[in-house]
């Protein structure tokens, strides 16, 4: 099962991985602990940074999904916020993103220090996700507006969806 499978299952609201009852730290910790991976600081920080981003930028209807299947951890987070393509350009320091496509903005958002807040030194969530993906030979999928960005190991691909989606969907599969 790859990240595209997870993504499409979320789109049709028949998720292939387990939805958590809420996106609180306690619930996430209990889920990771039950899977025996709560002590994996890299995974924990990647997951929590994505949740923090959603709480800060999206705020609306945040759902978290976590499952361990065979030797892989599957994670997804969805929200009905403004979307990365709208949030990142809010950073006035990133004026060269104006007019760029949603796909280009998503790709840029995985670079170090790219933040929708404009606060210098921030912008770790998607960067860490991308970095970890390369390190563990995983795969990630980021979708917003009508575009999907997929990273497998260190290679990026972009796809256009047939229709736009609300908010943002982020999925990953990391070997554990």
């Amino acid at each position: 099962m790859n990240v595209e499978d997870i993504f499409y299952s979320l789109l049709i609201q028949k998720p292939l991985i387990t939805e958590l009852k809420n996106s609180s730290d306690q619930t996430i910790f209990e889920s990771l602990d039950s899977l025996g991976i709560a002590s994996n600081v890299n995974l924990v920080t990647v997951i929590e940074e994505l949740v923090y981003n959603a709480r800060e930028h999206a705020k609306i209807n945040i759902k978290v999904y976590i499952s361990k299947i065979f030797d892989s951890l599957y994670f997804a987070i969805t929200d009905n916020g403004p979307g990365i393509h709208n949030t990142i350009p809010c950073n006035k320091n990133l004026s060269d993103l104006k007019g760029k496509s949603s796909a280009a903005i998503m790709r840029t958002s995985c670079e170090e220090g790219i933040s929708g807040t404009g606060v210098v030194g921030r912008g770790v969530g998607l960067y860490l996700l991308s970095e970890q993906c390369s390190l563990v030979s995983g795969e990630i999928l980021i979708a917003c507006n009508g575009y999907v960005l997929i990273q497998r190991q260190s290679i990026f691909m972009q796809k256009k969806l047939n229709s736009e989606i609300d908010g943002t969907i982020i999925c990953f599969r990391f070997p554990i």
Binding site: V44, Y52, N93, V120, G121, L128
Partner: protein, 101 residues
């Protein structure tokens, strides 16, 4: 010199996951005072269930910029020690703030 030990859990609870985690400002203040006095302090991570890069960045990077990375490494001791992902973020945070200042 007596080395003081303080518990991160006592100030911030079990989930040190956000830049605005309750208690982080107080913890920052304590560390600033300690660094001013050039005293060593041990930060116990006992009972902290989850910690993120953002939390460490918010707590440690401004201190590293003000007092130097060498000073904070010498005087602020985490127990257990910080994992590589956190150490890399301290370096990254210093670099990003220095570039943009």
């Amino acid at each position: 010199m007596n080395t003081k030990t303080i518990s991160i859990f006592d100030y911030c609870g079990p989930f040190c996951t956000q830049r605005d985690t309750a208690g982080i400002d107080k913890l920052f203040e304590i560390l600033s005072i300690t660094l001013e006095k050039k005293e060593k302090i041990i930060l116990s991570r006992n009972n902290v269930k989850m910690m993120t890069v953002s939390f460490i960045d918010q707590l440690m990077v401004p201190l590293a910029i003000t007092y130097s990375k060498d000073q904070i490494e010498k005087l602020i001791i985490f127990n257990p020690p910080l994992e590589e992902i956190f150490l890399k973020q301290i370096e990254r945070g210093i670099r990003l703030r220095t570039i943009h200042s």
